[in-house]
Symmetry: C2
Subunit: 370 residues, 2 copies
């Protein structure tokens, strides 16, 4: 359904404490259940993190956010680092994810947009002239604060919790750029695909290349895995998904494989009908929303993909016993996959109790290490 653009965790009130010597990547890899599960290697327990784990459900995030607007949180390296680290201080999570927004690199490309609260693009992009005028993204020049943030976060991470960098999928970014504002149906963007298919492909290529540069720079700065959020994948039937969204992602992932060997994750929101389409995409992990049983996804994806997901965010509102039962079903379903990273099937809701998150993290660790 919906796709939050603020797809990552925020960090809290105080500045990072005294830096510790960074571990080497090799050490981090051997210690991380998250990275092992991404690659289908044996793990001591099922790793867990939570999409939007540093979001508005955390009092310490809301406290910081009361003082600083959302955009500043994403654009100041120290604040983004703090927000990223907040949930890691509170919960025994197996990964951190950079606090940022999928629209941030588009701002870096010079596109005039603001948040109200979703992203609003002043001049929606609908012509070839506009597409051809888009500059290439040069992350070190255009988004230095993101790369600085990664460098601040890495030494502060608890043992065994790697940092995930991320970007929006090209089609998801197209939805916002063409429609100009969030929308339930993104009708303007979807009719653009049918009415101007060549223009759509041209825009997707440009966005995909920009995201390859952006994610590659995140890995070079220290991100230990890279995730692409295709939040609006589920707007497309398989034929249009293949022609537009998947074609662009293939190209992006191929460029990334040339730059880095960190695990690559593709989150296909509302992708029940799209598993066959992504089965031969060159990524390590497919992220799955709560609607598709993981065992069915694993059957279609085969033995070359790990899975990430997919508890219904609504399950965190259940009584503790029912929450455990729901989590246990996800764990059992996940055993069908080559590797399984426990997560929600979508971003955590702002109304969620942090106590429920604590119970979930502990239960997943306990149950999967028995």
């Amino acid at each position: 359904m919906s796709a939050p653009t603020q797809s990552a965790p925020p960090a809290g009130g105080t500045a990072p404490t005294a830096p510790q010597p960074p571990r080497t990547d090799a050490a981090a890899n051997t210690q991380s259940t998250f990275l092992a599960a991404c690659r289908g290697q044996p793990v001591s327990h099922t790793p867990i993190w939570v999409m939007r784990q540093a979001g508005r459900y955390l009092p310490e995030y809301r406290e910081l956010r009361a003082k600083v607007d959302f955009e500043s949180l994403t654009r100041k390296a120290e604040l983004a680092a703090e927000v990223t680290l907040q949930p890691l201080r509170r919960f025994d999570l197996d990964a951190a994810i950079l606090f940022s927004d999928i629209m941030t690199p588009l701002q870096g490309m010079g596109i005039d947009l603001h948040f109200d609260p979703g992203p609003v693009v002043r001049n929606p992009i609908r012509t070839d002239a506009q597409i051809d005028a888009l500059p290439a993204l040069r992350p070190a020049r255009d988004l230095p604060f993101v790369l600085d943030s990664i460098k601040l976060i890495r030494p502060e991470l608890p043992r065994g919790a790697p940092l995930i960098g991320f970007a929006g999928g090209p089609f998801t970014l197209l939805c916002y750029l063409v429609s100009g504002k969030p929308s339930k149906e993104f009708g303007v963007a979807r009719s653009f695909l049918y009415a101007q298919p060549e223009s759509a492909e041209r825009l997707l290529d440009h966005l995909g290349d920009a995201m390859a540069a952006y994610l590659g720079a995140q890995a070079a700065a220290g991100a230990q895995a890279l995730m692409m959020f295709e939040s609006w994948a589920g707007l497309l039937a398989p034929r249009e998904f293949n022609r537009f969204a998947l074609r662009a992602v293939r190209r992006t992932m191929a460029k990334l494989r040339e730059q880095t060997d960190v695990p690559l994750i593709y989150y296909v929101n509302q992708g029940s009908a799209l598993m066959q389409s992504v089965a031969d995409l060159d990524v390590d992990v497919i992220g799955v929303d709560w609607r598709s049983p993981l065992s069915e996804c694993a059957r279609i994806l085969g033995p070359n993909k790990s899975l990430q997901g997919n508890l219904d965010p609504a399950a965190l509102f259940a009584a503790p016993g029912e929450l455990k039962r729901s989590a246990e079903i996800v764990l059992q379903e996940g055993r069908a996959a080559r590797g399984h990273i426990f997560n929600l099937g979508h971003g955590i809701w702002p109304e969620t109790s942090p106590d429920a998150v604590a119970r979930l993290v502990d239960y997943v660790h306990e149950s999967s290490s028995r």
Copy 2:
């Protein structure tokens, strides 16, 4: 994604013309490709109608709507009849669908709601006391204008175009009643299922029984097929869909089968992961959104169900040649089903050109009768 509540066609500017003698049901059945396809019987061409076919994309609807508010259109039998008939005058459609709203019977039950423009419920229903206080629906007393409208429409229908009555699915109605207003995620309703599962079941039973009475009365008044719109099915994972939505629909459909032998249609919006769940539901037709290829649905549903759908509403914005190619793919996919009724996969968008609809209707008829 979204589910319009105004799930049916409106009619235009002038009153129905001089009545003609109604055909008998038997005659209508033998002449209707729509009814034959519902039952998996041979047809001379693939029948087509369009969800929201009498909606805002029609100038004659907008003209009427400029003079009369939406709610009055649904509550005055003559106006609802006129709106229902409008698209049948313009296009060679194979079925009409009653102009009404899925919330109309809830107003008939005394629930205080208004449209702004989506339905807003003054006192959202979240306690057992509220659920137990809901009255039973008695259609002849509570919704006489709906039944009168059906009686006005029947004699005016063109030859071979039966009238479809409809209602909202119990879970979809629950979403509005519990959340109190439309929402992208319906988080309040979804967390209600987890936090108060017994209350949810009790509410669903009540709503399902009310819809059985409502649909049964529509058939008795002259509706020749009955469709239930589960517009929000896709919010649920299969486990929750089965426990809540499907359980209630099974009960509703069983009650309907005792009252009438008209074909029953269940529209499962965003139901890619739910086909297995509905495979043994006792209905004649499953309606499918645009995301799931019909051949895959037919494979899962087996030989006892016809299919209705599922062109992407965005395809109506393509150039004529591309629209034909997209329609042809749906026709080809539909051949895998026992019977196929061509439709969009979701309601037609207000921005759609009526010319594109005319081209689509003609192409489906031409191509499928070759």
